[in-house]
């Protein structure tokens, strides 16, 4: 049974009197411990799917099931223990006036989990940050270090599913590779399921078992890693996207 099932999902934003369909009729399913990619240019609705799963975007049609059960609205605390998200911008996803310690301890406080000190120290260690960083503020960290903190925060509740919204697109190339390797290691160690958004096929190729190509809010084509590597795409759009990043895919 698939861990994440999305059937005919549509998301419609109402701005002023107009309505904008950000996602139209997209279906996908992700098996447990699989890493699934969503790729497309900006505005193709890939991030909106992640936000819809978290209840941060207005779902206008379709069904979302996590581990076979339909998600509740509002999502509730039980959902938080299954699904967590890492945001794109490491500069905007950490509260500027909270220490790293507070950021990491907060999910534990919300869910009434004790043993805070040990868990925070272990989480820092898990993402490769020295324990000395514990009481720093976000502005005392680099972008890559901040993103590590955001990943540690997402793992505090020990979720099975991690939604990754372009987790490395705001980082420079070397830090990007480090962060992707960290994510791969954590996935293996914690048995995580990834649903990852990127505009970069090279990143997706490095990370994902399967990938869904999206354009204008619709699903274009689903590809396995083998199909991606062999350039066996059937649609023109997927092919142009592939050709745009093919040279860099060889490097990774």
């Amino acid at each position: 049974m698939a861990l994440i099932e999305i059937e005919n999902l549509s998301v419609t934003y109402h701005v002023g009197g107009r309505s904008i369909r950000a996602v139209e009729d997209v279906s996908l399913s992700v098996a447990a411990r699989e890493s699934y990619g969503l790729v497309g240019e900006s505005g193709s609705g890939k991030s909106t799917i992640l936000r819809a799963i978290c209840g941060l975007a207005p779902v206008s049609g379709g069904r979302i099931r996590i581990a076979g059960a339909p998600v509740k609205t509002p999502r509730g605390k039980a959902f938080s223990r299954h699904v967590q998200m890492v945001f794109q911008d490491p500069y905007g996803s950490l509260h500027p006036r909270h220490t790293i310690d507070r950021t990491l301890a907060e999910p534990l406080a919300i869910h009434g989990i004790g043993d805070t000190d040990a868990r925070v120290v272990r989480a820092l260690d898990d993402v490769g940050l020295p324990p000395a960083f514990r009481f720093r503020y976000p502005h005392q960290l680099s972008g890559g270090q901040r993103q590590r903190v955001a990943i540690a925060r997402a793992l505090m509740l020990e979720p099975e599913i991690l939604l990754l919204d372009e987790p490395t697109s705001a980082l420079d190339a070397s830090v990007q590779a480090e962060t992707l390797n960290l994510l791969n290691r954590l996935r293996a160690e914690h048995g995580l399921t990834f649903l990852m958004v990127s505009h970069d096929l090279a990143v997706i190729d490095h990370m994902c078992d399967r990938v869904l190509v999206m354009q204008h809010g619709r699903a274009v084509e689903e590809l396995s890693r083998a199909a991606l590597a062999g350039a066996q795409m059937t649609t023109d759009y997927a092919r142009t996207l592939f050709e745009a990043s093919a040279d860099r895919m060889l490097e990774v």
Binding site: K77, F87, G92, S93, P96, D101, E106, R136, Y137, M156
Partner: protein, 301 residues
């Protein structure tokens, strides 16, 4: 000394407390580089000291009358700022008046911003009809001129220090609500709010722990800059006889009593006027300095 400084500046603080104190220390360093802010801080601190140790600074009794010594000019031996029409020493009355001024300022500064902050963050965070209702109520309060509304309230409640404070607080919260709401609207869609909401945090936790700390700097700056206005409104109410009642040495009331002989004995009204001027200036300078320190857009540098 060097040990304390290095403890404060430690980039890897060992505890929550050290991290917080370190941040305050950096803020203090920024504030102390601004000479005008330091002048403001000095004025405000001297006012605090003067009020706390009023009996030590005063040379006479602030209420006891001595009609033989009335209306002496500044510079008279024993009364270096002169005396008023009941022969009371002006310096003593200014010193004791600092207590009343600070009492009013402190009460207003505690109640009005807190109330405005709650209204503004709740309205901004929830949005929708709650926002509409709360902001229209705010608009109603903003539609009246401040002093007129305070006058009306005091006229209903009756004159006195507590009622003056209540009237001033009730007329000064709407701007804080506006500021807090504006700030809330900019942070409510931030990723860190989405992240904590995804962790299952309730509205109360988000507003208290995440939204309010972001609104606090703008509100604190606004409060410091408004303190001058609060002192002036309190003095205005005192001047009109609706605030503090005689024989208490409130500065506005002192100006009011000096008005009758402004041309012959100018000092009776001028000296409390100067006191109000200096203290207002102090709060304004401090507020300007705090803006540079607390502005979230400039922090972290």
């Amino acid at each position: 000394m060097g040990q304390i400084t290095s403890w404060l500046r430690d980039p890897n603080p060992a505890s929550r407390l050290q991290a917080r104190i370190g941040q305050y220390y950096l803020g203090w360093l920024r504030l102390s580089r601004n000479p005008l802010a330091m002048i403001g801080l000095t004025i405000v601190l001297s006012l605090l000291v003067m009020a706390a140790f009023a009996p030590l600074f005063a040379t006479h009794d602030p209420i006891a009358q001595d009609l033989g010594q009335r209306l002496l000019p500044p510079g008279t031996p024993g009364h270096w700022l002169g005396t008023d029409d009941f022969g009371r020493d002006l310096w003593t009355r200014i010193v004791y008046g600092a207590r009343i001024t600070l009492y009013i300022v402190a009460l207003v500064a505690l109640t009005a911003p807190l109330f405005g902050l709650i209204v503004g963050t709740v309205a901004g965070y929830f949005g929708g009809w709650l926002d509409q209702v709360l902001m229209r109520i705010t608009d109603i309060f903003l539609a009246f001129p401040k002093l007129i509304l305070a006058l009306a309230l005091v006229a209903v409640l009756g004159p006195g220090v507590e009622n003056a404070v209540l009237a001033i607080a009730l007329t000064s919260w709407p701007p804080y609500a506006r500021v807090a709401r504006a700030e809330t609207l900019t942070v409510r869609n931030a990723d860190y709010i989405a992240a904590v909401r995804l962790q299952g945090a309730g509205a109360l936790r988000i507003i208290w722990g995440y939204v309010m700390p972001m609104c606090l700097p703008s509100v604190i700056i606004r409060v410091t800059l408004d303190m001058a206005g609060v002192i002036l409104t309190a003095a205005g109410l005192g001047f009109l006889g609706l605030g503090v009642q005689p024989p208490l040495p409130e500065w506005g009331l002192m100006i009011s009593s000096g008005r009758k002989f402004l041309f012959e004995q100018w000092w009776v009204a001028t000296i409390p006027g100067l006191a109000i001027f200096i203290v207002s200036l102090g709060f304004n300078l401090l507020g300007d300095g705090l803006r540079d320190v607390l502005d979230p857009r400039s922090s972290g540098k």
